[in-house]
Structures are given as structure tokens and as C-alpha cells.
Symmetry: C2
Subunit: 265 residues, 2 copies
């Protein structure tokens, strides 16, 4: 047993969907969440920048006593996970591999689509994850950068959203995939419009899988805290005008305990 | 005369349109350009964050010998110009007032529309600028946050772009404005689709006005450099995958002399 909190970070507040799923499975654990809202988005920036930002985020969570770190950001998980695991002694998991495992469990044809930010798709992180799982499958990736600002604008069923989704998803539809990995924290919010185009295939949101994997790891390492208070402490590097409203949309419960924090460069 | 360079900063590379216009009017001046690509966009972040980022940007340009600073970013000009002018002894101008002057010169009905990022519109900077100009006019503002990622995706005439523009611009169209201020570096790229909706009214891109104002100020202060080499030195806080292609689209000429720089926090 270990009463220290679980640390979770993301480029912004989308990672609160991971917090939401973790709380369903581990309601007694305390959680510190860090959203790097001053520098978001990560998905359009360089690999070097994301590695640097992610290192600073992990350092902050460790300085606050995190016993385990979850990288809730797909872009950061894609390019920084290995490096952070080597650099820090605290155990760290990302969102790529749990999602890949789930997609493999669901696919029948072995044709799996992956959508994400430009960085996530071009990093080849999913191909690497499927290879490490010894998967015999075909991976079809597609960058959908406009999905992030569309969700932040709240246009979940605007006609423009449908046109944008059609442009991005048409090649995957034509390739006949039977499982689609939603490889960005914001994308599950667009499941309605995505389903309209892609039809009745299998959709994978890694948030739930990450919660399950985290629970297994905590037990394996004997660092779970089954009698804690279940507090959430949220730190953001910037508090924008409507962060509370959007945060609560992702977390699914009222937000308390929010602090602004500056990360050392 | 002063052989030192002119310093120009923006949240990203959109401000290179200002560099392009300045070069037309002042071809012999050396220019140092700083794009804070690691932290872009500014338009969705908090006022405090933009003031902090802008201060760091100005400090960098001054440390490189800038004799004059142009804030090419509309969000930064909206909330940080006064503060930077008070803090630094180097003369500084922004993009808000020059655009407002031009719109006033063009309007006949006195009904002026302004589009920009969420921060620019909600800051009230344009209302303040028109008031300082003693203008008898009605200002109608509209935040168009999706225009920025749409331009960065290069979807200048995608059907989705038209739908997005229709949603944003319809209220301005109905209000019967006769001049529209394009209050963000990225928006002139969308003039085709904007004109389709708004019709044959007056459009104001402040970039040209800023070039003219800068030339006047340099002359007034006797710090112009009519016999320089016209070099451009570009510094970016992050080099993303396709920065060169997008930069050249904004600057309108090939990019040389690009360096990555880290700003002290």
C-alpha cells in the first residue's frame, strides 16, 4: 500500500477523460492532474519540444509525490514515453499500448484504423506498439488535426464537422477497417459524427483500457491505496477564459481544487 | 540613422505577412523576427499568459539589438501593447490601431465589423482603439477561432471552410457592416471565402498599414537605415514538421537564416 497520489498529465484538459475512467475503477485513489494549457496543443509541435514539455510535466508530478505516472496525452505517449521511463524511477504508462491491445482484441479482419494528431500519426508509435504485441494486422493511420479545435469550439454536430470528418475518414472507410482507434483525448467527443461516416465497426477509446492497466500495475507493485479519500487536485499552466466549463465536460463532474502553476524551463 | 534591426514578433509564423509588407516599404532595413511557435496559439489563452509571453518575446528582441519593435500578433497587441510600452524604452507599435485607422478611412456608414481570435474580440481592444481615435462608429466584433487551424491545415477553399465562415459571419452580414477588419494574421488567407459571404464591402488587413506607420515612426525618430542589406533573421521557439512550407506561404519568399531559440521563463 502507498498513500501517495497517482500523477496524470496531458497537454490540456482532454486528459480529464482518463481521470474520469481511472476514478470509476480506483475511486479511493488520490489523483494529481497536470494540464499544460499554456503550451497546448502538443500535436502540431516538434518531437523535441514534446519530449522537453513531457519531461517537465513528469518532474512536476514527481515533485508532488506521484507514485505512478499516466501520460494521458497521445502525442506525448507517442514520442516521449520510452525516454521518460528511462529517465525516471517512478513507473510510467501511456495511452498507446493499452489502446492497441484493445483494438487487437476486437478486430476480426485485422484491418485497424488509427486517427490522431499529426504528431501521433507520423511518429509511427502505433505501428511500433502493434509490432511489440506481435500483431498480424494492417494499420491504417490518418491525421485529423482539425478535430481538436472543433471539439474545443463545441461544434460536435455542426454541418462543417461532418464535412471535415468525411474528408479525413473517407480513405479509412474505403480501406474497409473493422476497428478504429480514437487516438486523441478529444476524439471520443466526436463519436456521433464519426459513427455516422464509419458505420457499425469497433471503436476504441483507450481511456478505459488505461484505467484497467493502471489498476493491474498498482496491484502488481503493491502500491494501491484502497482506503484513500479519492481527492483530485488539478494543476494547469494557464487558466483560459472557459477552462472550467470545458474541463467539467471532460471530467463529467464538478471541478474543485484548481491551481495555476508555472513550470521551470 | 541607426543600423540596428527592426524586431517583429508573433505567436507563430503568421506575422511573416507583416514582415512581407514591411519589406515592400523598407527593403533595406534588417529584420529580426521571433515566432513563439512552442506556445502558439495565443488567441485561446489567458490575458496573463499572453502578457508574460509577450514580455519574454520583447526582451529577446531587445537583447538582439532591436531599435524598434512591432507586435505582429493581434492577440498580443490587444492585451500587452500598453504594458510593453511602459516597461521598455524601445519604441513599440502593435497591429490594432493602424487597422482601426484604415477602417475608419474606408467606412461610409460607420458600421465596422471586426473578426479575430477569442482573446482579441473579448479584450475590447478594438473598441478602445476606435474610442482613442474619437470615432463616431459602431463596432461589431465576432470571434472566429477555427479560422486559424483551418488556415494551418491549408483548407482555404474546402466546403467545410465555407460552412464555418457562414456560421461566424452571418450576424455581421445581417448587421449591414460596410468595412471588415481582418483582425488576425491568418485571416487574409481566407479572403476568398470571406468575400463570398460578405460581398463587396471594404476589407482591412492591418499588415500594410503597420508597414506605413513603422516607416513614419522610424523617420520621425531618425532611426531609419536606408542603406542596409535587408537581411531577415528568423527565430522560432519550435521547429514543427512543416514550418518551412507554411512560413514561405506567409512571407512570400524563400526562408533562410532560421534558428531555434529557447526563451527563459
Amino acid at each position: 500500500m502507498n498513500k501517495n497520489p497517482i500523477g496524470i498529465f496531458d497537454s490540456g484538459i482532454g486528459g480529464l477523460t482518463v481521470v474520469k475512467e481511472v476514478r470509476k475503477i480506483l475511486p479511493k485513489e488520490d489523483i494529481i492532474y497536470l494540464g499544460d494549457t499554456a503550451r497546448l496543443p502538443y500535436g502540431t509541435k516538434s518531437i523535441e519540444a514534446i519530449i522537453q514539455f513531457s519531461t517537465e510535466n513528469a518532474q512536476f508530478l514527481i515533485s508532488r509525490g506521484a507514485k505512478f505516472i499516466v501520460i494521458a496525452c497521445y502525442s506525448s505517449s507517442s514520442v516521449a514515453l520510452d525516454i521518460l521511463q528511462k529517465r525516471f524511477s517512478v513507473p510510467i504508462i501511456g495511452v498507446i499500448k493499452p489502446g492497441a491491445k484493445r483494438a487487437l482484441a476486437l478486430t476480426k479482419t485485422g484491418r485497424i484504423g488509427v486517427i490522431g494528431t499529426t504528431l501521433t500519426i507520423y511518429s509511427g508509435a502505433y505501428e511500433k506498439a502493434f509490432k511489440e504485441l506481435n500483431a498480424q494486422c494492417e494499420i491504417l493511420g490518418r491525421a485529423c488535426p482539425l478535430f481538436v479545435p472543433i471539439v474545443e469550439e463545441g461544434w460536435l454536430d455542426h454541418p462543417a464537422t461532418e464535412l471535415i470528418a468525411e474528408t479525413y475518414l473517407k480513405p479509412l472507410k474505403e480501406d474497409g477497417i473493422d476497428a478504429l482507434l480514437l487516438g486523441c483525448t478529444h476524439f471520443p467527443m466526436l463519436i456521433g459524427v464519426i459513427r455516422k461516416i464509419m458505420g457499425d465497426i469497433n471503436y476504441v477509446d483507450a481511456s478505459q483500457e488505461v484505467g484497467l492497466e493502471l489498476a493491474q500495475e498498482l496491484e502488481k507493485l503493491s502500491i494501491e491505496n484502497p482506503h484513500g479519500n479519492g481527492n483530485i487536485y488539478i494543476y494547469l499552466t494557464d487558466l483560459s477564459m472557459n477552462f472550467k466549463e470545458i474541463s467539467e465536460r471532460f471530467l463529467g463532474e464538478p471541478i474543485k481544487n484548481v491551481s495555476r502553476v508555472a513550470l521551470a524551463n
